[in-house]
């Protein structure tokens, strides 16, 4: 779960990290009010969960209230890579002397948390890493012992950060780490961490929380409501489905992320275009399967390929979900079903009674039919 910038900044502020003065606006009137407080010298930032927001024109500067209003008019409703701008963060314009990158994430190779610091903030950190690897300092933080000052000293030293900023940078890094741990984050990041005449300020804020840990953080349930998943994606989340909408016309339902991806790849190989990624997870109930069919159907696909290889998932349960979906929903498109694995025979027996369903034995065969029928 990724938080919107303004949500993340609020948390950063609660942990004592300096952030720019500013407020969230949902209307031109609100933008005007906020901009007036700063004599019109503001930055307007679209609150959407999209990478490269700046390059897409989602971050704009104004030097007067009128200009701020004009920019706001342009930004509200603006479509950035499929995300519609509904909220703007309106902030004071910072006087930036230099920009750092500071963050923590999880390093799967070393099974540790890794602290990252760079004096080349403001850019895409992957780009910096590719072009100037020596400009990205990293330190492993052993999860058993947590963050110690020496980790920070090594990081500061290797990043060639100016010594007069060591103490302030350490302070911010320590607080960021506390957020990383308290919120069970996958990623916490300040980019840019701006050096201003008033000191270091988190000009941007990113906080990605481990979805698996959200059950322990009740206060985040509410925040999640606000984050801009599409309506259809929100519904999928409610049912525990891993769903990502894409641009093709062959709908896919599979169990397991690997199988779902392999199915997408197969659709492509067969000459089609996958309309989505949808993993019903392990041991899906018939309700979940029914919901999955409903979601995919809504998204306007031409055919649906249900590809199940049951381990913890039972084929008979999946078949029951298909039956329920067909009984309760109006589905005008062909459904191709492939069931293998746990309780395969029982599942196939259930499906036998149904019309409008094409049952296949092999995934390659199913993918081919689904692609052909979507043309």
């Amino acid at each position: 779960m990724r938080l919107l910038e303004y949500q993340a900044k609020q948390i950063f502020k609660n942990y004592g990290i300096p952030i720019p003065k500013g407020e969230v606006a949902k209307s031109i009137e609100e933008v005007e009010k906020i901009a007036e407080k700063f004599n019109g010298k503001v930055v307007l930032k679209a609150q959407v969960l999209v990478g490269g927001r700046g390059k897409s024109g989602g971050v704009r500067k104004a030097t007067s209230v009128n200009e701020a209003k004009k920019i706001a008019t342009e930004l509200f409703g603006y479509n950035i890579k499929g995300h519609i701008v509904k909220k703007l963060l309106v902030e004071e314009m910072l006087e930036i002397k230099s920009e750092f990158y500071a963050g923590f994430t999880i390093d799967r190779s070393s099974k540790s948390i890794v602290a990252i610091l760079s004096t080349m903030g403001g850019m895409d950190v992957e780009e910096v890493a590719a072009k100037y690897p020596q400009k990205i300092a990293k330190q492993k933080i052993d999860p058993r012992w947590g963050l110690w000052d020496y980790n920070l000293r090594n990081l500061l030293k290797n990043s060639s950060s100016p010594k007069e900023l060591w103490s302030d940078l350490s302070d911010i890094l320590r607080k960021l780490y506390n957020i990383m741990i308290s919120y069970e984050a996958e990623l916490v990041e300040i980019n840019p961490l701006a050096l201003t005449p008033q000191g270091l300020v988190a000009a941007d804020a990113r906080l990605n929380i481990d979805d698996n840990a959200i059950f322990r953080k009740k206060e985040l349930f509410e925040m999640r409501e606000i984050t801009e998943e599409s309506e259809i994606e929100k519904e999928a989340i409610k049912f525990g489905l891993n769903y990502v909408q894409l641009k093709g016309n062959v709908g896919i339902i599979a169990n397991g992320a690997g199988m779902a991806m392999a199915t997408m790849d197969l659709i492509k190989i067969m000459g089609g275009e996958p309309a989505n990624f949808l993993d019903v997870g392990g041991g899906a109930s018939k309700e979940v399967v029914e919901k999955a069919i409903e979601i995919i159907t809504k998204s306007g696909v031409k055919s649906i390929f249900i590809n199940i290889f049951g381990g913890i998932t039972r084929c008979d349960e999946v078949a029951k979900g298909i039956v329920d979906a067909l009984n309760r929903q109006k589905i005008g498109i062909p459904i191709i079903v492939r069931l293998s694995g746990t309780n395969e025979e029982e599942g196939k027996n259930i499906l036998k009674k149904l019309k409008n369903i094409i049952v296949v034995n092999e995934m390659e065969e199913g993918a081919k039919i689904a692609v052909d029928l979507a043309r």
Partner: protein
């Protein structure tokens, strides 16, 4: 000399953690049917009773003492699964198979190191377990798709493991050991560790490695494969996954070009690995290799 499969075999004595839960009892029954030696189960508070003829204990400590189990399989729900892994490691079990999906990654960071320190093997979490066809099955796999033979299979994805093993079996090719290392960011075993075991395993002639986008584990494995004597056949899922979209698994995130399917396939090919485009093709490549 007897031919031992890797990690588990017919002498493996299993304790089931969370044996009274829905998944735990269902799969205990299935494993028993396959012939797996299940000697104990745990379910805190229910110690002293039994299920499916298996004695239940409150703690692993007690279960191990009484049953001499050396391996555990975990069906405990995600919020409590980390504790179950820690408990199994503390009780000095040599193999811990964690089926549970959805464990918080910060929990995984902790138990990874506990298991490591204890010198145990952790299979998973978020995995289908491990099977040595005809010997034992410590997992949740659809056992009928496997057949005893000489191909080792290691995979990050549960269902793809079944799919490709099924394709192999259909071509008459059996498996020595099939192991799902799990799809989470933090897994107990890496590809390299399993490849190393297969390389030494006398039962294994060819190895199938099933990867997916995210992380660098396949790239690291590609380096290791350069020094392996046995042929490896690869499969990587996620060629059509758009960058920056979550594909379900915490592990399946394309992180700015690093860990893309293209990068992994290129790395494997560079190490002489033939990579199948579809599960079926993987099986066909293996068939060719086996004939030589």
């Amino acid at each position: 000399m007897i031919f031992l499969s890797i990690i588990v075999d017919e002498n493996t004595k299993v304790v089931v953690q969370g044996i009274t839960g829905k998944q735990g009892s269902f799969h205990t029954q299935r494993m028993l049917s396959y012939g797996t030696k299940i000697v104990a189960g745990t379910s805190p508070g229910k110690g002293g009773s039994e299920i499916l003829g298996i004695p239940i204990y409150d703690t692993i400590e007690e279960a191990v003492k009484e049953s001499k189990a050396n391996t555990s399989i975990i069906f405990v729900p995600a919020p409590f699964a980390a504790d179950a892994v820690m408990e199994a490691a503390e009780a000095n079990l040599s193999v811990i198979v964690c089926i549970t999906e959805g464990i918080p990654v910060h929990d995984e960071l902790k138990f990874y190191w506990k298991v490591k320190e204890k010198g145990a093997i952790l299979v998973g979490p978020n995995c289908p377990g491990i099977i040595s066809p005809g010997k034992t099955h410590v997992g949740i796999m659809p056992t009928h798709v496997f057949k005893r033979g000489n191909v080792g299979v290691v995979s990050r994805s549960g269902t793809l493991t079944y799919q490709i093993s099924y394709n192999l079996t259909r071509l008459g090719i059996g498996q020595s050991t099939v192991i799902g290392i799990g799809g989470d960011r933090i897994t107990g075993l890496s590809f390299v560790e399993v490849l190393e075991m297969f390389e030494k395993d006398e039962e294994t002639e060819v190895v199938v490695m099933i990867g997916e986008i995210g992380g660098r584990d396949e790239e690291i494995a590609a380096e290791f494969i350069k020094d392996m004597s046995k042929p490896i056949v690869g499969y990587i899922a996620g060629l059509t996954a758009p960058p920056e979209k979550r594909m379900g698994h915490a592990g399946a995130i394309v992180e700015g070009g690093v860990g893309s399917a293209e990068s992994k396939i290129a790395a494997l090919k560079k190490s002489g690995v033939e990579v199948g485009k579809t599960p079926m093709e993987v099986a066909e490549i293996v068939a060719r290799k086996m004939k030589r």
